[in-house]
């Protein structure tokens, strides 16, 4: 275990208690085995990215963590309790934003607050939503509708909606995948700032190696057909131990890319086989 945590910007000790525990999870879609004996964990305050080829089951795993899908076998616990569909500790950010077109921006941000904080008055819930809208710099847009905003702004609303429920675990499925490079970069900064301010634990699914290396404490490499955890890379430890992170960075990036390239090639091979 590393002891170099002093330089880390956040108080995520490797000794922090586990928040998410996944043990031997197996999942089928109908007949086809999607995930086989997946085990992994996320500690409190940790930022974990999941990388793998398209179709390897990343979104499936995320939905299992969200309680939206039930595994055929295995144990999934968040905060020491089995995940249930409507537990309060999670929030999701979607690649397609998943904003409600008939709701104003403020009403969209308030969605989870409305459902989970029934103890608060409407006014208080509005206050919470406004607060988080303000943090993503969209106070002025509260009365707009999603279709009036650019993609980057829409995903900011998605972020505010997720953070507004003050989740202990934030799940993000390729949240910047639908954005142009500049907006994606801006949003990454927002996420980094919010996660640091609010001390959230995050599981991020991404195809972007730099994103994973820059944001995460750990990276899980997922192998496909069926999905298994191939490797669990402690980026924070590597970063802390590195004498020159810039040099090491590109070495680690190359390594990740080697893995991903093989996986993508294998996936293409499989799909060709399916066709013949």
């Amino acid at each position: 275990m590393s002891t170099a945590g002093i330089t880390a910007s956040r108080a995520t000790a490797d000794g922090a208690p586990p928040l998410v525990e996944v043990e031997d999870v197996t999942f089928f879609y109908g007949e086809s085995l999607i995930l086989q004996n997946i085990s992994c964990s996320v500690r409190e305050g940790e930022f974990v990215s999941i990388i793998g080829a398209s179709g390897c089951g990343k979104s499936t795993l995320l939905q299992i963590l969200d309680g939206a899908l039930q595994p055929a076998a295995g144990r999934v616990e968040v905060g020491g309790k089995p995940v249930a569909a409507r537990n309060a500790e999670r929030a999701m950010v979607f690649q397609s934003f998943a904003l409600f077109p008939w709701r104003t921006v403020l009403d969209n941000v308030r969605l989870g607050v409305d459902y989970r904080r029934r103890d608060l008055s409407r006014k208080q819930r509005n206050e919470v939503a406004r607060d988080y809208l303000n943090r993503v710099g969209l106070s002025k847009a509260e009365k707009s509708y999603p279709y009036q905003l650019s993609g980057g702004m829409q995903q900011r609303v998605g972020l505010a909606r997720a953070f507004a429920v003050q989740p202990t675990l934030l799940l993000m499925d390729e949240p910047f995948g639908a954005l142009d490079a500049q907006n994606a970069e801006l949003l990454r900064e927002d996420v980094r700032a919010l996660v640091a301010q609010e001390q959230r634990s995050v599981v991020l699914v991404t195809h972007n190696l730099d994103e994973a290396l820059q944001l995460s404490d750990r990276i899980l490499l997922l192998r496909a057909a069926p999905g298994r955890v191939e490797d669990d890379i402690n980026v924070r430890e590597l970063r802390d131990d590195a004498e020159n992170w810039r040099i090491d960075y590109s070495r680690h990036r190359d390594r990740l890319w080697d893995f991903l390239r093989q996986e993508v090639a294998a996936a293409q091979g499989r799909s060709l086989e399916d066709r013949s």
């Binding site: 939905q63 969200d66 939206a68 569909a85 409507r86 309060a88 999670r90 929030a91 999701m92 979607f94 397609s96 998943a98 409600f100 077109p101 008939w102 969605l111 989870g112 459902y115 989970r116 509708y145 999603p146 279709y147 009036q148 909606r161 429920v165």
Partner: protein
């Protein structure tokens, strides 16, 4: 300030900074053009009618139709409108009352959808108007038979659209709502219902058109009152001006109802309207 800077300032001052505003006619052309078209057609029609002097039994023109309309308005028009309007409204209300629950349930349950959708689709696409004579035999010459005709015509478009609306509810939005803690009731109220609304209005629009046909044709076939009855009677008497005035009443009524529905759609589903406009 150097000479060059001064020069730049001068040029800046002389440039036409104000955006060009186009004239009133150009800005309102979308609304003006259809009016102009109608006026032009009426004018040509009127001129043709006056100059050609065709037999008034077979041909009429705007000013004549207008006096025919005045004649109607002093005579049976209002009681006819009341009868036809009642048939239309009652038929629509009953159609909606049947279509909404059935349509929603069929959209929610896969099994019921599989079981009933073929029948509903078949009934929607057959011209059930051919059943009108039978409904007259069952329900008589009065309002009831026309209401029945409207119901068999108008229920299915509303039903089908509601079913499709429920089935087309965005799965990602359902997932998002569930993920943020929505219960079943929340899902229906906050996701399904708003997504169904535009489909419902589309269904209503189709239903209104069919209901109107149902009322008029029903009255044509067998009745003692109503706009359709009046039109038929005038046509048989070769009172062409009055006949065409009756037709105009129907046209005005249809346009008014359609505009009302468009307005409702803008009010109840503004995101949809604006999304379409934005493209």
């Amino acid at each position: 300030m150097t000479q060059q800077q001064q020069r730049i300032q001068q040029v800046g001052r002389t440039l036409p900074v104000q955006p060009q505003r186009s004239g009133w006619l150009v800005r309102h052309q979308q609304r003006l053009l259809p009016i102009a078209t109608v006026v032009a057609i009426l004018a040509i029609w009127e001129g043709l009618g006056r100059v050609a002097g065709w037999n008034p039994l077979f041909f009429s023109y705007p000013s004549q139709i207008w006096s025919g309309g005045l004649e109607l308005a002093q005579g049976p028009l209002w009681s006819d409108l009341r009868v036809s309007g009642t048939e239309f409204l009652l038929g629509m209300v009953i159609s909606v009352l049947i279509a909404v629950p059935v349509g929603l349930v069929m959209g929610t349950s896969k099994r019921l959808y599989w079981a009933f959708d073929p029948i509903v689709s078949a009934l929607y696409s057959t011209p059930v108007l051919v059943l009108a004579p039978m409904l007259v035999i069952w329900f008589g010459l009065g309002i009831a038979s026309k209401v029945a005709i409207v119901v068999i015509l108008s229920t299915f478009p509303v039903m089908i659209n509601l079913t499709e609306g429920v089935r087309n509810t965005d799965r990602v939005l359902l997932r998002a709502a569930r993920s943020f803690g929505a219960n079943r009731w929340n899902l229906n109220r906050d996701v399904v219902l708003p997504s169904v609304t535009p489909f419902f209005i589309t269904g209503l629009r189709l239903a209104v058109g069919r209901a109107m046909i149902g009322v008029i044709v029903g009255e044509y076939i067998a009745s003692t009152q109503g706009i359709g009855y009046q039109i038929n009677a005038d046509a048989e008497l070769f009172a062409t001006s009055r006949y065409l005035a009756g037709v105009m009443v129907i046209v005005i009524f249809s346009v008014a109802v359609m505009e009302l529905l468009k307005f409702l759609e803008k009010r109840m589903a503004p995101w949809r309207h604006r999304e379409l406009v934005r493209e």
